[in-house]
Amino acid sequence: MRVTVRLFARLRDITGASEIGRDVAPGATIGSIWRGLVAEFPDLAGYERSISSAVNTDYARMDHPVDDGDEVAFLPPVSGG
């Protein structure tokens, strides 16, 4: 299965990309994708407790399963307003 990962604000600066394609195994979750990113970009580890995530432009928890073609997004703490 292939998913698109969207990254914002400082997460994008750390990874150097706002959008990354990822091949994932069946049974993958948002959390497993996140852990894969942290392995690749250790500076992401500091966001372990403050990250939010979304699937297909809806907030979703880390244990949410992903499907082929999903858009998964990781959001650092927000600062709008």
Binding site: F8, S52, Y59, P76, V78, G80, G81
Partner: protein, 163 residues
């Protein structure tokens, strides 16, 4: 007529939001007694730094959904309030408005409370980020870990609204 909920790069015009929430049709026409409004403005100081300008970015489709969620919370908590909420993204200079809110209601208490609640919730759950360019560098501002289902945060927003 402009949309009630929006994100865009153009300067915000509060009067358009006020017009949008007061221009009601049918039974609701003429029922408003008050409009409370809020403008968030780019400030020249933050955390001891001299700010030069800000750059806002958003995860736009989720941000619009977050605004819809906030509007739904307002409708449930303050029935009869009509809400408009616009957020600007891109580069904003000192003194420019980043967010504009207008809330119309038959009674001013509901207008004020729902307007204040809305800005608190935007800061809690809207996937929007500001990068601050100050004298000597720049930094991403990171505020709240966004979780729309966090009832503790929602209760905090209600308290701030004096609701």
């Amino acid at each position: 007529m402009i949309p009630l909920l929006a994100i865009g790069r153009e300067p915000l015009v509060l009067a358009l939001l006020v017009a949008a929430v007061t221009d009601r049709q049918g039974d609701a026409a003429g029922a408003d007694g008050g409009v409370a409004a809020f403008l968030g403005v780019v400030r020249n100081h933050n955390a001891g730094r001299s700010v030069r300008y800000l750059e806002y970015e958003a995860y736009e489709p989720l941000a619009v959904r977050s605004f819809e969620r906030i509007a739904g919370e307002v409708a449930a908590r303050w029935p009869g309030v009509r809400l408009a909420l616009h957020h600007r993204i891109g580069r904003l200079e000192i003194g420019e408005a980043s967010v504009a809110i207008a809330a119309a209601s038959a009674h001013r208490a509901d207008a004020f409370a729902s307007c204040r609640y809305t800005i608190e919730r935007v800061k809690q759950i809207a996937p929007i980020w500001k990068r601050e360019f100050f004298d000597g560098g720049d930094v991403w501002i990171e505020g709240a870990a966004a979780d729309p289902d966090d009832e503790v945060a929602r209760a905090k927003a209600e308290r701030a609204a004096c609701a």
